[in-house]
């Protein structure tokens, strides 16, 4: 089942002196359950592409269709709502809410979606257990290590059972042990929940784990390998 179609997408940043063609005619499709990494040197357009997929940025040209919905046809309010229900995010700097506990961070999106308390609690504990932090549910982010915080972020991204998860350099701030553990967890969840994971990364360990590697250079796809 196709969850994401990227059709001839361009992103051009215009300033008064220089035009930057950050994404230059990218065409990609993603199926459910893929575990893909987008790699490339700095400035290749990875983050820009990810932002457009996530609806955080608009393409200058082209279309992004998620589960048969063209993002360009959504109004601002509809887009935010669509994002909440269909896309999960994992950020480089974890971006957990510091005053909430791990449990509260995970159930945050479910609260926004007005899940029933019992469903919310069940899903939260299921995910915290899956990421190995069921015993740290009541700890605040400041009481967790970097790796643990990122695991909570992964649990949060999966909370509302999105179509896919976008992870922008999720391992950049982690040591190798934490990275291994995180990737194992993400792969496990990918297989178990059949949720597509799309990484933007420089990390070879992520590339090694990915089952599909897409290489970007100067905003264009130069390689797209399925392992």
């Amino acid at each position: 089942m196709k969850v994401l179609e990227i059709k001839d997408v361009h992103k051009i940043y215009n300033s008064t002196e220089i035009s930057v063609h950050a994404v230059n005619g990218v065409n990609l499709n993603f199926e459910a359950g893929e575990f893909a990494a987008i790699v490339g040197p700095s400035g290749s357009g990875k983050t820009t592409l990810l932002n457009m997929i996530g609806g955080l940025d608009k393409p200058t040209e082209g279309e992004i269709i998620i589960n048969n919905t063209n993002l360009a046809n959504l109004k601002s309010k509809e887009l935010i709502d669509f994002r909440m229900r269909n896309i999960g995010f994992v950020f480089q700097a974890y971006n957990l809410i510091p005053v909430l506990t791990a449990k509260e961070n995970v159930e945050f999106i479910m609260n926004l979606q007005k899940w029933a308390k019992s469903d919310r609690d069940n899903r939260t504990y299921e995910l915290l257990k899956a990421v190995g932090l069921d015993d740290r549910a009541n700890n605040r982010p400041s009481q967790l290590s970097g790796g643990q915080q990122q695991r909570v972020a992964v649990a949060r991204a999966l909370a509302s059972k999105p179509m896919f998860v976008l992870a922008d350099e999720p391992t950049a701030n982690l040591d190798s042990k934490s990275t291994e553990k995180l990737l194992d967890i993400m792969e496990g969840l990918n297989r178990k929940e059949n949720i597509t994971f799309i990484f933007s990364t420089h990390d070879q360990r992520v590339v090694n784990k990915a089952r599909r590697v897409i290489t970007l250079e100067d905003g264009k796809i130069v390689e797209d390998n399925v392992k």
């Binding site: 940025d57 309010k77 994002r83 005053v99 926004l112």
Partner: protein, 465 residues
Amino acid sequence: MWRNKTRSLVVISSIVVGVFAGVYSIAFMNGMIVQRVDSALSNEVAHIQINHKNFRSNNDIQDIIQNGDEVYRKIQNTDGVAAISRRTVITGMANTASKSTGVQVIGVNPDDERNVFKLYDKVIKETGSYLTPEKHNVAFVGEALAKELNIIRYEINDLVIDSLRKLEIPEEVIGKLEQFKGKRFKNEKLFFKKVKAELTEKESASFGRHIAKTSQRFRSRAKLTMTFLDKNNDQTGGNFRIAGLYNLPNNMYEKMQVFVLNEDLKALTGLEAYEYHQYLVKINDTEFTNEVTQSLRESFLDLEVLNWKEIAPDLAMTEDMVTQFYIVFMSIILAALAFGILNTMLMVVLERTKELGMLTAIGMNKRRVFSMIMLESIFLSLVGGVLGMLVSKIAIDISYAKGLNFANWEEGMEAMGYSSVIYPTIEPYWFVVMGVMIAITGMISSIYPAYKALKLDPAEAIRTE
């Protein structure tokens, strides 16, 4: 709100101080006004006054109320009337051996007067007593008038020294007063001139009034001669002994009003027993002042019927104006509060740029982001506001129980008609009004910071360091 405890506590503290300053100031001013109005209505001005149409403008002895008994009955039968006092009012001169001054001589029936006014309760200790129907040719005089006419003398003796010690006047100061023992001073001016010459400026300011009050000596049954015109416009007058002195927080009233028995005044002026210039009415509930006034007006179309707001428009104006003053004052405080909250919330949005970007990215819509900022702002305001009001309430209750004594400014305050001991007080509804205004201020202050939060580009915000 608590992620930066120090900042939140500083903001809350500033709100507490601001609210306290505002509420306590209002309570203080309100206390002054309430006391002034209460004192005036208890001692000086009746709820409703009825007199001849020309009486107030002419002040003519001939402007009496005709058919006095019928008028009295009609008033008695009017709904809402609690008590009536009838007065004879003559303008004249009061003289002692050394001084004279213009006064208003007011003839009263003491028993009726007691039902309408509480002046009987304002007798200065050891100066005598209020008027009684049995004692004739006596006058009840204000302290300020007694001083004016040199009826009050000043003397320092052993009793005075003991009293000053009990008042905890320093021994150093008392030592300087010893040289005045046995000496008598005709009036306050002379007394102060001599005493202040021996004291330092600070000692005079701190203790001068206490020394003067303690040294006052009233000449018991001092004589007062009063002269005025009688019914036929002939000069007449009489000698009166001082029955007692009264003290009100209104020096002007004390200087002008001398009270004698109606009988005595009528005997001197030739007025008949049933002839009066004023009928003063006390009503059961001042909430119905206008209704009772209107009722009496309809009964007495040929007489002037005025309520206290019309007799003393300065009092009414003070009461009305002061409410508007409170609103202006509180608005200024709330404006300062608003800027403080605005600044704080802008800092909050700036610090949480990344977090706000993340929240928008994961699906928090604009309405929720806006509400989040607004609720934090309102909560901050209300926490500070409620604490501020609590502190104010405690301070007001303590001050009310003890009174705030401005003895050093007693003379000036009494000259304006205000007591030097203030009991701060505030209507409970002001706390509700304050609470609502604080919440609204918090809400308004958060609009701009919330707008800034909404304008953040999530993709850029997430990348903020």
